[in-house]
Symmetry: C3
Subunit: 681 residues, 3 copies
C-alpha cells in the first residue's frame, strides 16, 4: 500500500482549501456572476462542480451540451476558483431509465425503483457503465487542459444496494472468483445447516427475501460484494480519467458511519480521502463521534491529510427535527476537522437551492443571502483559514490505535446473536469517547494493519477475527503492547464460523481466560461491578454498572481486575488483566457505563505511559499536527463555559498572531479555538 | 362560483332531515318490513340506498337484477321514506376484477390489490369507467320518475390512490395539459436538481418508489392529479345523471381531515356538501376538531347548509380501542352539526350488519335491537328534531376566517423540511380550538377566497402561497383587517420553490420582519416567552412556552409583542405586530402552548372588536344561525358539569317550547342543548 | 377419535426418554465418534436425525447419497442410541428451487421467497410433494429394518403460509368442497356486504392485499385451509411411511402458541404429540404459559403422554436480548414437562453448530464443550431421569377444563373489533395462570369435546361458538357443571356472523343476562369493581380493577356478584352468577387484574369442590400423574426462596430414594424438584 502525496493538488491548492459544492445549473446566468463575486469575498478557492449535471450535459442519449459548463469553468477560473470536477454518475438522467430500464436499482423485495431522486442505478448494468464512462471520457478530454481543473470528484456518495438479476449474475461470478469450487462455497457458507447445500453454481443467488432467518455467511459475502462492485465503478472511471489526465488527483466523497462500503479498501484507490459529515446537533455525543470519523479518515491513508468535502453551514433537513448550529459551532467543527488532519474545509453547498429535496439544507449562502448569521460566519472563516496555511501537510502522531472494521460491522450486527439490539457504531464510539475524554491522539485501524507503531490498542467487540488477526493481537501484546479488548470478541472467523477452543477461541490465550457462556442482561436490568483489592490496574474505588451483557468468565492465567457484586455471576470477574510476554491484555466482559469505561481505558493508557497531548480541562479537545520541524497545537473548547489552559510550550497563536510562552494562560471562550505553532522540540 | 339552493331536495325534504345508510341486500325480505316500520317510529325521512349494491344489481357483466331494488324503493316510499340513491361505483363486483384485472388499484410499491374489501378500483381504467357509468345510467333511467328518488349519492368516500400504468399515462397527459411544454415542467419541478431533467415526455412518470428523498414538486402534482382524477369520476357520473334527472340534486360523502382529495375543488361540483365524520370519543380535542370540520363543510359552498351524512350512533370499530358515545353525547354531537350549519342528521348505518368488516360499527338499530340505549336515543332524537324544523336553511354569519388549504397540506408535510414531524391538521386544529374557546363564529377559507367579509384572518403555517395569495393577505391587512399568521408561512410558491427575498419571502412586508433562519427545538426542549412591556396587543402578564420551532426573527417595521427569555434567541421576538395600512398583521414565530395561543388569538379578536356569539361559560359551545328575519342561538354544553347562561335576548327555546326573556338563566345539563329562536334584531 | 398407545415406541424406549436433535452432516466423521461417546455418558437414548438433511441426501434431483446416513445410523445403534428419523421436507434443497421455482412460497404481498433459510416451500406444489414423498419413500425402504429406527419425525415445525397461484387454485377447490355451491359461499362469507358477491367460482381467490379492511370470513377460511393443506402434507407422508413401516410411530413437532396450525386437528393424525418450546427466560409469566402448553399437548390426545421434543439447554438467539437459563432452571423446566405428562425430555440440539442461523442457540454440548455449566447439567439430568422411569405412561386426572380453540383464536383477533389490541394467547394464559396459582389439575379442551368428565369449565373469550358448542355449554351447566365464561364470548357463529338475540346470542340463557353494548375502556383508564353484599360466590371483600373492556350488562335470571363503582356503568354488574339446572354459570363482563381473576376462579373452584392437588406454598407447582395402582406427586419450586411442604401421603421420594411418611416436611430449594411415588389410595 503506497500513499503518494497529492502533488498536483498541492501545486494548485496550498494551505487549507475552502469552498463547497456548486450547482450552477440550478440558477440563471445572472446569479453566476454574483456567485463568483461572493466566492472571492469569502476566499473560496475550490468548488465541486457537476456532481448532478448529467442530464444537463447529456439531455438525451448521445446529445451533449457542454457550452454552459465551458462558460462556468472559465468564469470560475477567471475569479481564482479551482474546480473539483465531478463525473456525474450518481444520478443518471431520466432518458437512461426510460431507454434501459435494467439500469435501475432493484430493492431486496424486488421493487425496481424509479427516477426522481438519485442513486437509482444498478451497479452491474453494462449500459449504465458504458454511458457513465462515456460521459467521464468526454469531460476528461474536454477539460484536460483547462487551468481550473484541480481534481476529479468521481461519482457521489456511492450507496447503491441492488438485488436485480444482473447483480445476481455478477455476485455469482464474484463468488466463483473467491471460492473457485462450489464445495468450498458450501463449506464456508455452512450450507450443511438447514439443507442449503448447492450442487450447481446456477443455484447460487444473492440474498432475496427468505422465510425465516437469513444465512449470515451469504449476507456477509453480499455485503463484501456490494462494496466491491461499487468500488469497481469507481476504479474503472478512475483508470479512464488517469489515462487522459494522469496528473489530476481523484477522489470520491465518503460518508460518516456508512455501513455499505468498506472505505478502507476504497481508500487504497483514491489519491485523497474526502468526507461528507453531518453530525446531528441534537446528539450530545456528536462531536466525539465526529472526531472518530476524522481520525478514521486520516488513518485510511496512513495519516495523509484529507478533505472535509461536505459539511453543513447550519441546519440540515434529514432528521426528524433539524437543529441549527449555534453561533461559533460551525467554525469550531471546521477547525476540529483540521485538528484531526483535514487540509480542506468545504460545504454542501455554496448557494441554497430554491427547489427540490435539499432546499432546506443550509448553504454557505442561505436563502436570506448576505443578511444572515450563516453567511457572516462563512465569510469570517474563509478569511481566518488563510492564517493557518502552514498547518497544511502536517501529520498526526498517535501511539494509541482503536479498531474500526467494516467486515466486523457487517458480521457483528448479524441475526440470531445473543444480543440482537447491538449497535457497532455506538460501541466503538463509546470506546473512542473514552480516548477523546483522555485527550490522547488516536489512529483508527484494523487488526490487519501494522500495529508496531502503537503502544495501546483498543479492540471494541471484534466478533470476527481471522487467524492472522488473532496472531496479530497476540504478537502486539507479547511485544510489549497494551491491549484493551471488549466482550464478544474473537468469536468467529472470517466466514462467521465459531472459532473452536471455547469462547473466545481467537483470544483465549491472549486474555488468559475463557467464557463458559454469554449471559446478556434484560434491558431493564443492571449489575454493579467493583474493583478487586490489590490488583494493579485500576484504583480500588473503581466501580461500574454493567448492562446488556455479561460473560460467564473464568480466569486462567489472567487476574481479576473487577468483579460482579450481584446476580448469578456475583464474585466472577467482569474485567481481567493478563500479562503476556512483555505486554498486557485487559479484557472487559461486560458493557460498562461511560464513566467507568473512561476510567478503565485511562488506567490502560496510564500503565502504557500514554500522556494527553496537552493538559486541558474536560471538554477541551486537544490535538497536535507536526511537520518535519514544527508542531501545531489545537485547543478546541466544546463546552458552554470558558476554559483556561496553561501552555506547556512557546510559540505563536496563529489566529491572533500573538506570541505565547510557557506558562501562558490561554483563555478559550465557549466554542473558542486556539492554534499554537511551535518549533518541533 | 355559484351555489344554487337545493330546490328539488327542499321540495321533498324540508326541516332537518333524519336517516341513515340502508343496506337491505344484507337482509331477508322479512326484515325489510320490520325496517320500514321502525323507520317510521324513528321519524326517518331519508335513507342512502345502494351504495354497495353493484354486485347485487349486476352479478355478472351485463346481467342485471333490479327487481329487489324496485321492491325496496316502493316499500320505502310507501312508508314515507325518501331515497338518496347511490351509484355503486365504490366497490366494483368481483367479476370486473376477474374479467379486467387492469381495473384493480396498484399500490405505490407495485402491488395490485385484490377484491374482498372496497375502493379497489383504478380511477383511470376505461373499463371501470364504462361499467360504472353504465350502471349509473341504468339506475337513472329506471328510477327517474320514482317518487322516492330525492337525491343522488355518487360513489362513496372516494379514496383511491393508484400507481398503475394506466394512471401513469393519465398523469402524463394531465401534466401535458398543465405545463404544455416539457421545459416548463422541468423548470417548475426543479429538475436541474439531482439531474432529473426530462428530455422526452415518455420519461415522465408518476412517483414510484425511489432511492432516497422524493421530488416534492412531483409529489405535489401527483396529489393534485389524484384528487382531480377522482373528481373526474364524480363529474362524469354527475353529468350523466343530470342529463337524465336534471332536477335531482347530487352529492358524494366527504370524510373528516381527509388528505387525498381537495374537497374545495370538489364542492364546486356538488349540489350539496355531505360529510362522514367519526370523532374518536377517546380524543379530548375531538369536539373542537369536529367543529372545525363542520365549519369547513359549511364554508366549502359559501355557507350553504350541508348534510351530516354519516356518523355513528355509538362506537365504531376502526380504532385500536373503540369507546362508546356516553349517554346524551350522540344527541349533543348531532346538534353540534346543526349548530354549524347542517340541515341533515344521518348515520352509518340503519341496522347493524351481522357479518363483514363493519359488523361492530354501531348502527341506529343495534344487534340488540330495540332493547338498547342506542335505539332509545335514536328514537328520541328523531322525534326531537321535528321541533327545530325552522332552523333549516338558516345561515351562519362569521367575521373571522381561518385558512385550511389542501395544497398547503400536501406541501407543508413534504419531506426534508426543518421539522419533519409536522402535522398540519393538528396545527390548524389548535388555532381553531382557540377560536372555539373564544366562542366566535368562524368560516374556513383559503387565501384565494374573497376575504372582504372578514375582520380577522387566522393563517396557520401557510407554507405555500401563490403571488396572488401573498397579495391577498397584504390587501386584507391594508384594508383594515387583522391577520394572525403562524410560523413557516409564505415560504414557497405553488411549485414548492422558495420565494426570494429572505424568509418569509411572501409575507415580509406584511409582517414587517424577516427570519434569518429557522431554529427548531429538540422534542424535549422548550423556551419560555414573555410579553414585552408597553406593547399594545397582549396583557403584560402574557407568558408562553415555545416548543419544536423558533424563528430567528428580526423586526423591520413591526414591533415585538413577546420575546424569548432564554436560549440562543433570548431577547429576540417570538411574536411581532405590524401596523400596515388600516390593519394589523400579528406574526407568531414559534409553536406556543394552547393557553398562550388562546390568549394571543383572543387579543387579536379583541383588537378587531370581535365579540363572542353569546356570553357563556367555558366548555359551552355557542353558535348562531340566521334567516332573513330570525336567528337561532345554539348553546351546547360539552362539559361534565352543569352550566348556566344568562340570556341576552328574548325568544322561544325550541326543544321545550318555553318562552324566555332577556336575563333568563338557562341551565344546561352536561351534554345539554338549548336552541333559542328570536326575531332578528 | 381413538388414541392407541405407542406400543412400538414403548417397546424400544421405556421410561423417560432423553436426547435431542442431531445434525451430524454439519460435522466431520471424527466428531461423530466423540458424539456417541458423550451421548452414552449423558444417557442419551434417542436422537432426531436428518431433519435438515435433504440436500445432503439428494444433492441433485434424483442423485442420492445415503452412505453417510447408513454409517451414522449404525454408529448410533451400536452405542445404544435409537433414532427418531426425519423426513427432511422442511427445507428442500436449492436445486428444487432452481429447477422448479413454483415450489417456492409466496408472501401475501406477492414476493416469492428464495432459498438460504428454511420453510420456503409452497405446500400446494405437486413437484414439491412428489420430491418430498420420493425422499420419504427411499428413507422408509432403506431403514425399515434398521434396529435404530424408533420413530418417524415427519417434516419440522410446519409453518408455511403461501399465497401463490397454486395455493389460490387449491384454496378454491377446498372452498368448493366445503360449500358445494357458490350461493352457499356467498351467504356464509357475507358477500352482500361491500358488493363482494361472486357470480363464478373463478372470481374466488385467496386473500391477497386489499384496499381497506379484509373480509373476516375469507381470512378465517384461509386460516382453516392453510392448516389443512399443511396437515395434508403430513398425512400423505404418514400414509406412505405406514405402508412401508406400519409399526413405526409417527409424529411431527408442534410449536408453542403457534397460530397457523390447528394442532387439535393435527393431533388426530399423529401417534404421539411432540412439542418444541422456548419460553423466554425474561418473561415472568413464562412458566405458567409453559404449563398451559404442556396441559394442551397432553390434552390433544386425551391424556396420552407426549414428548418434549425440543427445548434449549440454555439461551436461545431469537429474542432481542437472549437471557440464559439460570442454574437449575433447565432441570426444573424439564421436570415441569414430565409433571404435565411428558415421557420424553429432548433438546434442540445435541451439539452447538459452528455456523449458520442457529449457532448461538444453546445445545446440550456447547461450543465450550464439556467445560461448561450447561454440559454438566445435561449430564446430571440424563442420569437423574433414570430414577423416575416408573412415571412413564402415568396419566393426569383433571376435573377442571379450560378452552383453547384455534378457530376462535383466528376469529377473535380479526379486524374491526371493539378492541383491536386483543391478544387471545395472553387472555387464555391469564385464566390458566389463575388455575395454576390454585394448584389444580387442568385439561385443555374445546367446546366440541366431551365435557362430562369435568366439574369446572373455564371459557375465556370464546367469541366464536357453533350452535352445538352453545348447546354443549348449556348442557354442561344444566348437568351440574360450574362454568366461568369471560366477556366477548358467544358473539358469532362459525362463519363469523353475529348470533341473533342480543349479545351474547349464543349464551344469553346460560348466563342469565344480556349485554346492551360493549363498552371498552381507553388504555389509560380503569374502573374499580367490588362485590355485591350477600351474594354467595365471592368474599364480600372481593375487589378488582377492570381495564380495556366493560359490558353494559343487564341481568335476567342471573344475580350480580360484583358491580362497577364508577363511570357510566356504575352500579351495573361486572360479574354475574346464574343458577341453571343443577349447575352454575359465572359470567365475567370485564377484564380484571390477575389477583382478582385468581380470586374469582378460586371461588368457582371452591363452590365446585375442587381442591388443590396437594397443599403447597404459592410458587410451588403441584401436579400428579397416576397409573392403575400408583400415583406420582410432583412438587416444583419455581420461586427464588426455599419452600416447605408438609406431605399428605406416604411414599418414596424418587430422586433421593428416601422413604417419606404423612406429615413429613419436604424442603424444596429454589428450583428444587421433589417426586413422591405412592400407592394409589
Amino acid at each position: 500500500m503506497s500513499h503518494p502525496p497529492m502533488n498536483t493538488f498541492r501545486d494548485r491548492l496550498s494551505g487549507i482549501v475552502y469552498g463547497g459544492d456548486y450547482n450552477p445549473e440550478q440558477w440563471p446566468r445572472s446569479v453566476w456572476h454574483e456567485d463568483v463575486e461572493l466566492m472571492r469575498a469569502a476566499n473560496v478557492r475550490l468548488v465541486s462542480l457537476g456532481i448532478f449535471s448529467w442530464s444537463a450535459l447529456e439531455p438525451a442519449d448521445g446529445t451533449f451540451e457542454f457550452g454552459w459548463l465551458d462558460e462556468i469553468m472559465d468564469l470560475l477560473w477567471s475569479n481564482g476558483v479551482a474546480v473539483n470536477l465531478a463525473t456525474p454518475n450518481a444520478s443518471p438522467p431520466p432518458w437512461l431509465a426510460e431507454d434501459f430500464p435494467e439500469t435501475l436499482m432493484v430493492e431486496r423485495n424486488g421493487v425496481r425503483v424509479g427516477v426522481g431522486s438519485r442513486g437509482h442505478f444498478c451497479p452491474s448494468s453494462e449500459v449504465y457503465r458504458d454511458r457513465s464512462r462515456r460521459m467521464a471520457r468526454m469531460l476528461a478530454e474536454r477539460y484536460r487542459d483547462h487551468p481550473a481543473l484541480a481534481m476529479w470528484h468521481i461519482g457521489n456518495e456511492y450507496h447503491s444496494h441492488c438485488f436485480c438479476d444482473l447483480c445476481d449474475d455478477r455476485f455469482r461470478r464474484w463468488l466463483q472468483d473467491k471460492y473457485q469450487s462450489l464445495e468450498e462455497l458450501n463449506r464456508r457458507w455452512g450450507t450443511s445447516m438447514w439443507s442449503q447445500r448447492y450442487s450447481d453454481w446456477a443455484q447460487v443467488h444473492l440474498p432475496k427475501p427468505v422465510r425465516g432467518w437469513v444465512n449470515p455467511a451469504r449476507e456477509l459475502d453480499f455485503a463484501r460484494f456490494n462494496s466491491d462492485i461499487q468500488l469497481e465503478l469507481f476504479t474503472r472511471e478512475r483508470d479512464l480519467l488517469k489515462s487522459i489526465t494522469p496528473h489530476v488527483p481523484t477522489t470520491t466523497n465518503f460518508m460518516q458511519f456508512f455501513r455499505l462500503n468498506d472505505y478502507r479498501r476504497w481508500a487504497e484507490e483514491l489519491d485523497v480521502v474526502a468526507l461528507d459529515i453531518y453530525p446531528n446537533p441534537a446528539d450530545p455525543a456528536g462531536l466525539a463521534k465526529a472526531a472518530l470519523q476524522y481520525d478514521l479518515m486520516r488513518s485510511l491513508r496512513a495519516g495523509q491529510p484529507w478533505m472535509l468535502m461536505e459539511q453543513a453551514a447550519g441546519a440540515v433537513s434529514q432528521w426528524p427535527i433539524n437543529l441549527v448550529k449555534q453561533p461559533g459551532r460551525m467554525r469550531l467543527g471546521s477547525y476540529q476537522a483540521v485538528a484531526h488532519g483535514a487540509d480542506a474545509v468545504m460545504f454542501f453547498q455554496w448557494r441554497a437551492s430554491r427547489f427540490g429535496q435539499e432546499k432546506f439544507h443550509s448553504a454557505m449562502l442561505p436563502h436570506g443571502g448576505q443578511n444572515t448569521r450563516t453567511w457572516q460566519e462563512v465569510l469570517a472563516l474563509g478569511d481566518e483559514l488563510t492564517r493557518i496555511a502552514d498547518v497544511a501537510t502536517a501529520r498526526t502522531h498517535a501511539e494509541v490505535a482503536i479498531v474500526w472494521d467494516w467486515e466486523n460491522w457487517w458480521a457483528v450486527e448479524g441475526c440470531a446473536h445473543p444480543d440482537n439490539t447491538y449497535n457497532y457504531a455506538d460501541v466503538v464510539s463509546s470506546h473512542h469517547q473514552a480516548l477523546w475524554n483522555a485527550q490522547v491522539a488516536v489512529d483508527v485501524v484494523t487488526l490487519s494493519a501494522d500495529l508496531s507503531p502503537y503502544r495501546v490498542l483498543i479492540v471494541p467487540n471484534q466478533y470476527m477475527m481471522s487467524e492472522a488477526q488473532q496472531a496479530a493481537v497476540r504478537r502486539f501484546v507479547e511485544n510489549g503492547g497494551h491491549a484493551l479488548i471488549s466482550y464478544f470478541s474473537g468469536i468467529v472467523d472470517q466466514d462467521d464460523q465459531i472459532i473452536p477452543n471455547g469462547y473466545p477461541g481467537g483470544l483465549r490465550e491472549v486474555i488468559g481466560a475463557h467464557i463458559r457462556e454469554f449471559s446478556p442482561l434484560a434491558p431493564e436490568d443492571s449489575v454493579a461491578v467493583r474493583a478487586v483489592a490489590e490488583q494493579s490496574l485500576v484504583d480500588d474505588a473503581f466501580a461500574a454498572t454493567a448492562t446488556r451483557w455479561q460473560d460467564d468468565l473464568i480466569t486462567e492465567s489472567a487476574r481479576a481486575v473487577a468483579v460482579y457484586t450481584a446476580g448469578e455471576l456475583a464474585g466472577q470477574p467482569a474485567v481481567v488483566d493478563n500479562a503476556l510476554g512483555a505486554g498486557h491484555a485487559v479484557y472487559l466482559g461486560a458493557r460498562l457505563d461511560q464513566p467507568a469505561l473512561d476510567s478503565l481505558i485511562r488506567a490502560v493508557l496510564d500503565r502504557a505511559g500514554i500522556r494527553p497531548v496537552h493538559a486541558a480541562p474536560a471538554g477541551v479537545e486537544v490535538t497536535e499536527r507536526r511537520t518535519a520541524d514544527r508542531r501545531f497545537l489545537f485547543l478546541l473548547n466544546h463546552g458552554q463555559d470558558k476554559a483556561t489552559v496553561r501552555l506547556d510550550r512557546r510559540g505563536v497563536e496563529l489566529l491572533t498572531g500573538q506570541v505565547v510562552d510557557v506558562g501562558h494562560e490561554l483563555v478559550l471562550e465557549p466554542a473558542g479555538v486556539v492554534i499554537v505553532k511551535s518549533p518541533l522540540a
